[in-house]
Symmetry: C2
Subunit: 101 residues, 2 copies
Amino acid sequence: MIGVQDVVGLAAGTLTTISFVPQVVRIVRTRSAHDISWWMFGIFSVGVALWLGYGIMLGALPVIVSNVVTLTLATAILCLKWRYGRDLPPPRYGAEQEPGP
Amino acid sequence: MIGVQDVVGLAAGTLTTISFVPQVVRIVRTRSAHDISWWMFGIFSVGVALWLGYGIMLGALPVIVSNVVTLTLATAILCLKWRYGRDLPPPRYGAEQEPGP
């Protein structure tokens, strides 16, 4: 029988997991990822992998399922950062436009 | 006595929590947050709050501690997005520069 804490855990895992989808969509739509931090998603991905291990040790299904999906999405964002976030940042208003290196 | 799973949980919580610090630093340093998704950090914050509740129900200290700090950092990013991410995005190379609305 599913208890209240399982429902809360599933809701928590669902929200923190699906939250990455809008970020993926935004990067793909704008083709821009300059403001995304490599360090954040890199360290985050390692942490999520450890959470996955923790969930397996605990036998906590919400932790396991949400972290498998979150790890997939976080890795996707790193790939998109590689694709769209390595260019020179666009110039700001009023700045001289110079050809990039 | 601290077991292996507690060490893994603490490591996981530490990494996923501190991962947000580089993102905060990046936004403050570049004064830019256009590529950050409102939806991602908004939904993520709600999910983290639920994880906090789940951790309290489970009595899982790594879950509780990491999610208090993560919630603080995610909220900070939302505030920084409000501060630095609401302007018009900078023009791209080659685009006509037009005054904003």
